[in-house]
Symmetry: C2
Subunit: 196 residues, 2 copies
């Protein structure tokens, strides 16, 4: 039982390395060139994070010495790393995550392939939706109560918040629809293969 709580960046690294073993530079290229996971991508964040994961035995490094004099440390996931990632992916969305680091819920969703069954993913999205809806209710209540005497710009900024969370809900409903149409009837396999 690891019971170690990692940072969002570290979980993102585990997810990446599960897909394919990578060196620190590979990871930095990935973060810099793909729209997913707009994490730090700076070496001062990445290399220490990979070392931390190695120290916890969640990843292992293999020295690639095909080019000697600059050996690449290629990291790959260990069983413990995969277990740690799996445990994280199974956590439902919390309110705190929603307002503090809005990206974590989406990150988990995007990496769930091969870890959550279709039913679990549907349940995850439903929980996500509940949290967003709950927060939206709170925001709307706050608006009705206090926003009347806000200056115009602050009021517009509040409206932006409302719209953004409404957009979340709309996407969740869209995703639920897509997933249900993908698996229309009583299929509920863990669906490991389709990941690539």
């Amino acid at each position: 039982m690891p019971e170690t709580v990692l940072t969002t960046l570290e979980y993102a690294l585990l997810g990446l390395l599960e897909g394919a073993p990578m060196s620190g530079y590979d990871v930095s290229r990935f973060f810099a060139t793909t729209p997913l996971a707009h994490f730090s991508s700076s070496p001062g964040a990445l290399y220490p994070a990979l070392k931390r994961l190695e120290a916890r035995a969640l990843v292992t490094a293999m020295l690639d010495t095909t080019l000697e004099a600059r050996p690449r440390r290629v990291y790959s996931l260990t069983e413990a790393g995969r277990a740690s990632l799996d445990a994280w992916l199974h956590q439902p969305v919390t309110r705190d995550e929603l307002v503090r680091d809005g990206r974590a819920p989406l990150l988990r969703f995007s990496m769930a392939e091969g870890h959550l069954s279709t039913d679990e993913i549907l349940a995850y999205l439903e929980g996500f939706r509940r949290e967003v809806s709950g927060y939206l209710d709170e925001l709307r209540e706050y608006c009705d109560r206090d926003a009347g005497n806000y200056p115009l710009l602050a009021r517009l900024a509040l409206a932006h918040g409302l719209r953004t969370y409404e957009c979340h809900v709309a996407w969740i409903d869209y995703a639920l629809g897509e997933l249900r149409s993908w698996r229309p009837a009583g299929d509920s396999g863990t669906d490991r293969e389709s990941a690539r």
Copy 2:
């Protein structure tokens, strides 16, 4: 010329203190109870940040000793602080801000009252819109190029990103409309009074 670059939290503090002098606890209450500015609100972040601002002479503390034995340090903005805030509020939205800390552009907008003229606010929003649109183009291009062989969940997560930025654009257009209808003809005053 201060030329000091502050953190987003510190600018948020300047904006808050401009509205009304506050103690550290007042600020923490504000961050904890209003939907705007979901910043840290933890004392370990707030009190040191206020001290940093005081050390740079951007705020001053007045000891409120009406209750002795627990004097409150009530902070208010100095002229230098207002100038620093003003300079920040005049900065246009950059791509980097957009992907790294999505909240800063909105924060600036919401605090611009009394610092930017209506025309400047319109220009700010137009710049904001350009950046979001540009990033959206890039995202769409990336989708067309690479998303085909992504697994389903990653593809859906990408769709979420697209929708979110589209939502930004829609709000910007809405805000532009509101601001223009508020000031339909050739009025371009700095509009200081309507705040609070």
